[in-house]
């Protein structure tokens, strides 16, 4: 009797252990994949069909990277669907296990009470625990596969973006001036921010040291640094962008029907006018000025690389963690050439994480309601 109970306990423990192991495994998978991703060469090993085409990169086939990108995107989406299905399946299995366990517990307490039909009960218990361990194996397998697929699909999508970016560059033949994410020049300092939903004083003081020497993607850390500052300047919670935030200047639209690129429009006249102050553009073509109205260019094609003309855009912007949007109402003021839109009236009154949304209001969307329109989202960490 006692022995049996012990056994069950041990099994239960094992189950728990196994769970953590699974977690560990999927973790290390994630790790390996991220390592691979940084190398930018993996990705679509899973789709050999397109791999064969990869080494044919020539100017005459400007659309090649686009074709590859579209295939990768399709593959990524199918993997994502599969992964979602696997996760649904896994959840079902988990429920089954839970039910079985509950039954075992119930059996046990019943048995304690009535103390009869011992042998048959024990037999069913044995069956159940065997069943559980089988299910656990299945769960493990499905979870692992689902996680792998999800990760792979995500990486594939990133690769697709990279491919598309290349196709885009070929397509616009020198018209794209900057491929980098939009930033603000490091010498532009802005200590002040306001209108925060949440304010905190001590927990994450603004680190002035980091404001002086900003890291590559300008994400200030949240550590305190009392030796550098004795003034206890409050920092805003929610002001820091997550470290894995996608700040690319190239993006698929939400519905993955279009592809777009943003960059800062540097007006020559403004550059020549050297007397203008801090907000003047520097050699850094991806830099937006602080507190100054300026312009962007927005390049848009469909997935075949055809520039899309005559889109009616609505421009929105906000800072996560703040209750305010952009201080101005920017809009597209002209289509410079087919598929290239001039966005005027952009202005940022603060450094930090901004989300800029271009909502497509083309004629076909007119009938749809606002929430159904396709859109592009660009994250900026200024």
């Amino acid at each position: 009797m006692l022995l049996l109970l012990k056994k069950i306990k041990i099994k239960a423990k094992k189950i728990i252990n196994r769970k953590t192991i699974i977690r560990k495994i999927s973790f290390s998978f994630a790790f390996i994949f991220t390592l691979l991703a940084s190398n930018q060469s993996i990705a679509y090993a899973a789709s050999p069909k397109t791999q064969a085409n990869e080494n044919q990169t020539s100017k005459t086939q400007a659309s090649k990277p686009l074709t590859i990108a579209v295939e990768m995107l399709a593959q990524a989406n199918s993997e994502e669907t599969q992964s979602r299905q696997l996760i649904v399946k896994a959840n079902k299995v988990r429920k089954q296990i839970k039910n079985l366990r509950a039954q075992m517990l119930k059996d046990k307490s019943n048995k304690d009470k009535l103390n009869k039909e011992e042998s048959s009960k024990e037999k069913s218990k044995k069956d159940k625990s065997e069943h559980i361990s089988q299910l656990n194996k299945l769960l493990e397998k499905e979870q692992k596969k689902g996680a792998e697929l999800r990760l792979h699909s995500k990486l594939l999508k990133q690769q697709a973006t990279v491919q598309f970016e290349q196709g885009f560059i070929d397509l616009w033949q020198g018209k794209i001036v900057s491929r980098s994410p939009l930033t603000m020049n490091a010498d532009v300092k802005n200590y002040f921010s306001h209108n925060a939903k949440i304010r905190s004083v001590h927990k994450n003081k603004l680190n002035m040291n980091n404001m002086e020497v900003q890291s590559e993607n300008n994400i200030p850390e949240d550590t305190t640094n009392q030796s550098v500052m004795s003034l206890e300047i409050p920092a805003l919670t929610g002001q820091n962008a997550p470290p894995d935030l996608n700040i690319d200047a190239f993006k698929f639209s939400r519905k993955e029907k279009y592809f777009a690129h943003i960059e800062v429009q540097n007006n020559d006249t403004e550059i020549n006018n050297a007397e203008s102050d801090i907000s003047k553009h520097s050699a850094n073509v991806s830099a937006v000025p602080l507190n100054k109205i300026h312009q962007w260019r927005l390049f848009v094609t469909d997935l075949a690389g055809t520039p899309i003309e005559g889109i009616n855009f609505e421009v929105e912007g906000h800072m996560p963690g703040h209750v305010h949007g952009l201080p101005t109402k920017p809009r597209v003021t002209k289509e410079i050439e087919p598929g290239v839109y001039l966005v005027d009236g952009m202005k940022f009154q603060m450094k930090g994480w901004w989300v800029i949304k271009f909502i497509l209001r083309s004629d076909e969307n007119e009938a749809e309601n606002k929430s159904q329109s396709d859109f592009f989202i660009f994250n900026l960490v200024l």
Binding site: Y191, F192, S193, H194, N195, A196, R199, V201, M208, N209, E212, S227, V228, M229, S230, L231, E232, I233, P234, I293, V323, H324, G325, L326, P327, T328, K329, P330, R331, D344, G345, K347, Q349
Partner: protein, 457 residues
Amino acid sequence: MRIFQLSALLSCLILLSACLKESNNNNVQEVEKSLSAQQLSLYQFTEVDIAFLEKFSINALGTPPESVSNHFADNELAAKLGKKLFFDKSLSRNNQFSCASCHQPQRYFTDGLKLSKASGTTHRSSPTILGAAYSPWQFWDGRKDSLWSQALGPIEDANEINTTRVEYVRRLLKKYPQDYQNIFGELSMSFLGELPEVASPLGDNIAQAQWQAMDKSLKHQVNKVFTNAGKVMMAYQRQLTLPMSRFDQFVELLAKDKNINSDENASSNSDLNYIAKLSDILTPVEVMGMRLFVGKANCASCHNGPLFTNYEFHNIGAPEVGMPSVELGRYQGVKELLTDEFSCLSLWSDAKENDCAEMRFLKSSGPELVGALKTPTLRNIGSTAPYMQFGQFDNLQQVLGHYNKPSPPVYNREQHPNRPHFDIMPLKLDAQELLALESFLRTLTSPLPKDDPWWGI
């Protein structure tokens, strides 16, 4: 118990600052004796602290931003005529009012009243005009986009100078024909003979009828002179500067001596000497208040830069005063800007349309505009009571009381397009901290520049 200790500390601080003021600077031992280690640390600033504080110094202000809509903004002759117009009561219909009636130089260009009084009583309180040249928007709700356009409002307003533009133009050209033509070129005055007694598109029924009856070119000539009057008054206001306040002197000394101070070899004697000098300018309580202002009290998130304002619009929930209509703030301000007769986009502006970016991309809707008002400057704040747009608060204690335990904005479903945003959080400061904060605010007052001709004291 704790409060008792704190107040003991505080009175000690106050006494201390008094003795420091009297004490001889060189009397290092006395300083050492009277300043506890904790008090000494109040005066210890790192280089980054100092760089931060320098952003608030009047020395960092520079000249006002370039004006695209007024070519005479930095013309000295224009500024001189502008000064005359600003103070001249004889340009008003009843010879009683000028801009200076409500913007008095001795009161830092305010009037000390909750609501201003001239021909009638104004709807809001009169803010200072010091620093206004640095703001992209004028009035509490930002309903004007330049100082020249702003100046034209009070002239015709029935509660203010109450003088139609035709009357004003006639009086101006009769009194200052030479000054005017020196700036704007030769002008034939014959059109004055064709003008009706009173006329304005904004006046009472008679004035409006008369205005409608005038022919287009006559209207044009009147508006030309009228808007030029605004432009010279703008040029005048751009000349107003502020002498250094005690706060500015403190930061200047910090900045000057930061190298000496950070020198590790400096003897503790010279350190103490230095602190003695600093404490001659700001008392320990005031320094404590300064640290609170930029720190825990979070005032500097809106009141920042050399003028202690970001010139943006916020809703801090200052109480309504029970008027029939609620304060719609910037929400109403942008509406008026869009139809403003004298904006940057108007015929009377010197700017090309493309230069008026702020107007072209004006944010004309958004929930955060409702009830939001322009952050006012805190320069000379100790001398410009009462406070807020209706003078709701009589003194700084009341202001700080509000910030410490703010009432959220009133939500009136009939009048507000949406629930007003609320941009501040309770501070939970104790009585001593509030007192320190108030003491600091009083260090922002510049001495009245008696010899500065632009101030005209």
